[in-house]
């Protein structure tokens, strides 16, 4: 086989090493189409991010560029007690809300898959509605729901059960629980939508085959439904983790990091550092930590899915 033929074969099956220019020449229409998006992303996203990274090495404040200070902001961060606390609590908050959102979302999707058509659309709209409500509005709803003096939940608990209610937004462990539950309520719909789509896509034949083989309801769920849900689960995990790390509006509305600073999340601390203390460079540095958390989680999930894929190969 001549050298030339071999090259042609490699080219034909896309095995030939190509340079960037070759690829541009070959797919120029495609590149042309992504240019506007790329430009907008550069202006609105990549540039601010790169600038944000640079600013963490400066002492930038409100409206002022600031000068280079090396790692000062990072050393401030590492020696700051409130940051240590906020970091730990953010991890707990993210873990708790992401997990709850998965579980509630899964149940919502399963419930929907059981409903006969007709009611299905309405039910799904109602079940998923919290996800489409404004987070601040959600915060206000929960604040009134949990309000110790006028709220519905304390009223129900004390009137019907005759038990003294804890103060949900102030007492001991309750503010933490309240924040996690309220956030899960707001965003479980996201998991629900993805799970519902995945469940619809599971071939009915597999259920029939399983039923014929004598599998009961639970067994069918375990052996047919669950395996189809592994990939959606990991997507939901990756996305919800990132969003929950950055979650701000609803916790801010509900406790604002209080009582005192007992429920201070990194997102609220970032806001406070930027807009109360006007130390933007420190706020960016805090933002870096949040990115780091999201990225670590994302890398972890990708590794997991890779391992999972290897099982199938």
């Amino acid at each position: 086989m001549s050298q030339e033929t071999a090259q042609r074969i490699r080219q034909k099956y896309g095995l030939e090493e190509t340079t960037l220019m070759d690829r541009v020449r070959e797919n120029w229409v495609g590149y042309l189409f992504i240019i506007p998006t790329f430009v907008m992303f550069t202006i609105l996203f990549y540039y601010p991010i790169v600038r944000g990274v640079y600013l963490t090495f400066t002492n930038t404040r409100l409206g002022q560029a600031g000068s280079f200070v090396g790692l000062e902001n990072y050393s401030w961060l590492l020696t700051n007690d409130l940051f240590h606390f906020a970091f730990g609590w953010t991890l707990a908050f993210v873990f708790g809300t992401t997990l709850l959102q998965l579980v509630i979302g899964l149940f919502a999707a399963l419930l929907l898959s059981e409903i006969r058509s007709g009611w299905r659309d309405w039910t799904s709209a109602i079940i998923m509605s919290p996800y489409f409500s404004a987070p601040l509005a959600g915060g206000v709803i929960w604040m009134w729901f949990l309000n110790n003096d006028f709220g519905m939940l304390p009223m129900i608990i004390s009137d019907l059960l005759g038990v003294e209610t804890p103060i949900f937004l102030a007492d001991g462990i309750w503010p933490y629980v309240s924040l996690i539950v309220a956030q899960s309520w707001h965003d479980y719909g996201y998991a629900g939508i993805i799970y519902a789509a995945a469940i619809v896509g599971i071939p009915r034949e597999q259920y029939e085959a399983a039923a014929l083989a004598g599998a009961g309801r639970l067994r069918r769920f375990r052996d047919v439904t669950l395996p189809h849900l592994v990939t959606p689960t990991i997507i939901i995990l990756a996305l919800r983790t990132a969003w929950n790390v950055a979650e701000f509006a609803q916790p801010f509305e509900l406790t604002g990091g209080g009582p005192g600073t007992r429920t201070m999340l990194m997102s609220i601390l970032t806001y406070e550092t930027a807009y109360v203390n006007l130390q933007f460079s420190r706020a960016y540095t805090l933002g870096m930590t949040m990115i780091l958390v999201s990225m670590t989680a994302a890398i972890f999930y990708v590794t997991v899915i890779k391992d999972e894929e290897d099982l199938y190969v």
């Binding site: 409206g63 990991i234 005192g260 807009y275 949040m290 994302a298 990708v302 890779k306 894929e309």
Partner: protein, 518 residues
Amino acid sequence: MSRIGTDGGASSDHADNESGENPSRRRFMRSAAAVSTVGALGALAGCTGGGEDNSGGGDDSGSDSGSDSSGSESITIDYLNAQAVENSSTKAHFQESLKSFEEKQGDVTVKLQTASYGDIRSKLASTVSSGNPPTMAESGGGGLQFYLDGKVPDHSPFIEGTDRLPGDYTAANLDSAQYRGEYWSAGGMRHTNSNLGISPKLFSQVGVSDPFEELSTWSGFLDAVEKIDEQTDAIGYEETGVPGDLESYWGYARAAYTGGTDPWIRQSDDPDNPTIVVANEDHEDQGKTDGMMKTCVKMAQEFSSEESAQRGDEEIPSLMLTGKVASFNYAVPTANRWRAIKEDVQFGWNGGEGDFMLLPHPKVDAEFGSNFGISELEGVEGEHGGHMWALEQQQTIFNASDAEQNAAWDLNMFLLGDDEFVLPAWGEHYEALPGLQPKLQRILDEYELAQSTEQAYKNTDTYGKQYATTGAAWDVRDTDPIRWTDINETISEAIAGQHSIEETPSLVRSRIQDRLGQ
């Protein structure tokens, strides 16, 4: 914005996956991971505050008014303000007044943009950093930062160009508008002040009959609160302990002093290194300052609800009007916020039958320290009217052409001094104290005011000379972080039980020291 983008991306990726091809799953996981990372980056990018946020809430007030009538070139100024959206009636009043200002000027158009007090700082920061600041804004303490960064001109020439300023400014305005002797601001349109607020029904129930006498000292007040605590189900005293509303403490912190002496920070020979009085072992006044700080935490712990570290002042009217709270130290002149809860609310004592009454903050008496177990305050006496909000309402003119700046200054003088605007604004729509001293009496003469408003005015009259807004006199760049974070948040943590009463002053001190680089 980025949120919608990423969510959409995820679901389309998901559809790919549903086709059941394994290779696409890998690709889709990669993109999901990328998208999630970008999601977090988005939070950061959001923080850089790209200037696209300056359109919301804008109100174009009467842009068609008489710019053609005079032969001169017409000028348009942008004016960003939070006051106009305090309630619905202030907004209408602002719009009408601006229209009449435009008519009077002939060649000026004012574009009013509004933002709530919660949003105005970030909105202003993003417009300034994108190089598109308004001509004038209710910048609050942030305006000082912009002044120090060269985004705001020296306001002295404007002030010196008038025949009534700075003489007519209230003491609080005069204090707030200056930084180390330079005018960085044009003053604030109005102030409010913090006072003692009580429920006459609950206080009369425990035997108080002359509140002006019996509640005039901290010992007398403490005695009554203790009785309410023991004899009724109500909360005797509720601290508004969320860091953003601990101005209540600012109000009475000065009561251990006389003459309005600053309890926290005093200027020294080196303006960059002022003297911190808090927890300062070498300072003769340490006990007074630390003592009142401890009083704040102890009052909250002994009498307030367990939510007091979270309590915002907006919640108090409904709690007091339903008999749940007997007193608080964040009573402001604005009667409308009480009427909003209960239309026929009874202001004043009314023979012990009133719903809400406003009094001066109690005086610290020599026995209070031993009565309440705060040893630092034993033998200490002092009095002070309350806290005056003045920094928050400061208005600044930003760098612009001379014509625009002059038009903005004219607008400022109109908002400060024109009776047509000033009297209804602060006497009717949003009861508050005007920014120019002579207007106070004018409003008192003009309007039949609720007891709470009238008393708040009287307190200003009595204590006006020593009234000062917290932090204005420190003349340091970080006034806001020191008062909101280092002082208030630390005290709020103490109320929430995160650290002890005893260590609170020293924690506040070390945080202020860090902030000032001492």
